[in-house]
Amino acid sequence: MKRTILFVLVALGALLAACATPTVAPTAAPAPTAAPAPTTAPAQPTAAAAPKPSGEPIKIGIIAAMSGTNAVLGDWMKKGVSLAVDQKNKAGGIQGRQIQLVIYDDEADPTKSVNLAQKVATEDKVIAVWATSNSTSALADIPIFAKYKIPQFTNGTNVDITNKGSAFIFRATPAGPSFEDTLVDFLVKQKGFKKFAIIADTSAYGKGEGDYQVDALKRNGLTATTREAFGIDDKDFTGQLTKILQGQPDVILLASSEVASGLIAKQARQLGFKGQFAGGAAIGTPKYIETAGADIAEGTVFTTPWLHDEANEMSKKFVEAYKAAYNETAEFHGANTYDGTTLLLLAMEKANPLTSENIAAELHKISGFKGLQGTFNVTDKGETITGTLVGIIKGGKLTVYTGK
């Protein structure tokens, strides 16, 4: 027992020493302040953002997957948010104060995400946060940010995210059903397709999108000929696809990640499927085209909240700025995180005094705001926008569907 306690003591000593060391926030933004965090009273949720002397930077957190399979989503989020924040900083910041990003990798693991949510709320004392691009991690973080009354933005599409009764969650992009309803309505009403098969992975995203597709079909008086599932690590879909093809569907609805959807499209064609591929957000990405191969992806119909449109001045500016900053073509995750951050900055301008709680209240008042994805009207539950547009892959490119 005593020996053990000694071990505990040593370990505890190491821990306290570690905590006393000011940690340098990993961020591309201006140098972080190394002030030791003041002790907070226990068992009392403290308002995370007490007014600070002006001049000190305001912190916004980003928690997302920066490594592993979902690293792309985190990377896009980082880029979209950073772009909006950098522009604001160049324009003088908020009330004369610069904005600083603190960025953390949760590896798409909800336990790690919860740790980090505690960290940004109580150690970094961020005023608002992006958390996360992954639905289960976003859900895991909701109770924490609700407790500390910190506005939490996500671009996860699962409907459940805004059904948890938090007044501090905001979804900067349409919810899943907006994607699938528009898609299925278009395919049924304009294209006249009747036989649909669904293939969905068993992750929260895939399962959710698959369910919305079923619902959308039902509203149109249809049921899927087959609905097949697969694990996110699977690479060979012959079993599922062979079964799907027996039902002779006109359309295969894809409900999974960019890569898995691309592989499925490729394998389905090779197994002799001649019909239409269609899917929601993940399909409207260059990654899907790359994975399926341009010839197989050709003609795939998708729905997306945003597609670059030369005629739209705002869109044009965004694409140029994104290209200048990252030397990459912008896609919709960059656009929705940029949009969300713009909304957040708008609310921060209005919040007086500048506290997390006031920012959330100001966010809820936003209506009729024009962003890249369309017009934003923030609801009580934290939805900000509905409506997606139909796109089609043409000549290996994502294009807006124009009626031909």
Partner: protein, 340 residues
């Protein structure tokens, strides 16, 4: 003189633990330590099954998940409080442990490693697919923070004491077990199964018991986790977290309960502390594991023993010889060809 020293140490240790939440720089720190407490409980369970009884077990994530799901479902569907969920979670996770032990009676070493991985994966797939029961991949939200004797355990600081109590009880119980007849039987089986059988030890019964105990410890950890984070989903209970517990136990010292305490605290804290270094952090983490394996196979606890033996000194926390040396120090009769 020496005893006074020990009493003072014990007192200081207890005091540090008791005031820790009050002096911690922020709630995040407390949360991380709470999480470490949960890992320690799982590590204690693993140590009983693997360190003492020699049963390789990579299904911890599943036991943990069974405990967490029991608490989450009972609480969200029937509003049942933690003091009801806790024993039920322990029982169900314990039964899962015992069931997983059944193939173990037939299958050995690396075959067993695979069987436990396979069973854990299968349980995870059930969590994902049996939506009527588990609510599927999206998980269960809005689990209540517990309330005990009218006191809401609603923040990391109060939760710390709950975790602390569980860890202290868990440790003391484990200590009793390993010093008891059961523990001696475990060690006998680990060291030489045939000899143990010849001595009249009911090997199968103890092997099932060891894994049931691992299940019970993980069940406690699961119930605590569900009530602490208020949200659970199947991806939390995947294989990677079983590996994490295995790693922390081996770093601390397999076959030593103190090893679980050391590893369970040190690993999660180091990981948080090194967070800023990103990918290189993980490379370093991998290298650190290899260094532990190659140069201190008994873990931190084994290392202190070596120092002790080498220098002929007796460190204040030296262990009684009866407690059994870490398994790592003696090669088990594995059916490998290299047993020269």
């Amino acid at each position: 003189m020496k005893n006074t020293f020990k009493v003072i140490l014990l007192g200081v240790g207890a005091l540090v633990l008791l005031v820790f939440p009050l002096v911690a720089p922020n709630r995040y720190t407390v949360h991380i330590v709470n999480m470490a407490g949960i890992w320690i409980l799982m590590s204690l369970g693993l140590n009983l099954a693997m360190g003492y009884c020699g049963q390789i077990n990579l299904a911890l994530g599943a036991f943990w998940g069974v405990g967490a799901y029991t608490a989450a479902l009972l609480n969200t569907r029937f509003g049942s409080p933690i003091w009801i969920n806790m024993p039920l979670g322990m029982i169900l996770a314990g039964i899962t442990g015992a069931l997983i032990a059944l193939p173990m009676l037939k299958v050995r070493s690396h075959y067993l490693a695979l069987v436990t991985i396979g069973l854990a994966e299968t349980i995870n797939i059930i969590m994902v697919n049996e939506i009527w029961l588990t609510e599927g991949p999206l998980g269960i939200s809005a689990i209540e923070m517990p309330e005990l004797f009218g006191i809401p355990i609603d923040g990391a600081e109060r939760f710390f004491y709950l975790v602390l109590i569980c860890v202290v009880i868990g440790y003391l119980v484990a200590r009793q077990i390993v010093n008891h007849r059961i523990g001696r039987a475990f060690i006998a089986i680990r060291d030489d199964e045939t000899a143990a059988r010849a001595m009249g030890v009911n090997v199968a019964r103890y092997q099932v018991l060891a894994n049931a105990l691992a299940g019970v410890y993980c069940g406690v950890a699961g119930v605590l986790y569900a009530h602490m984070s208020t949200y659970i989903s199947p991806d939390i209970f995947e294989f990677k977290n079983a590996l994490f517990v295995l790693t922390m136990t081996m770093v601390g010292g397999m076959g030593s309960l103190a090893g679980s305490l050391v590893g369970g605290l040190a690993l999660p804290l180091t990981q948080e502390w090194l967070r800023a270094i990103k990918s290189w952090q993980l490379v370093g983490f991998g290298l650190a594991i290899m260094i532990v394996v190659l140069f201190m196979p008994g873990g931190v606890v084994g290392l202190t023993q070596k120092i002790e033996q080498a220098g002929g000194i007796r460190l204040p926390w030296a262990r009684k010889q009866t407690e059994g040396k870490p398994v790592a120090e003696e090669k088990l009769e594995m059916e490998g060809p290299n047993v020269a």
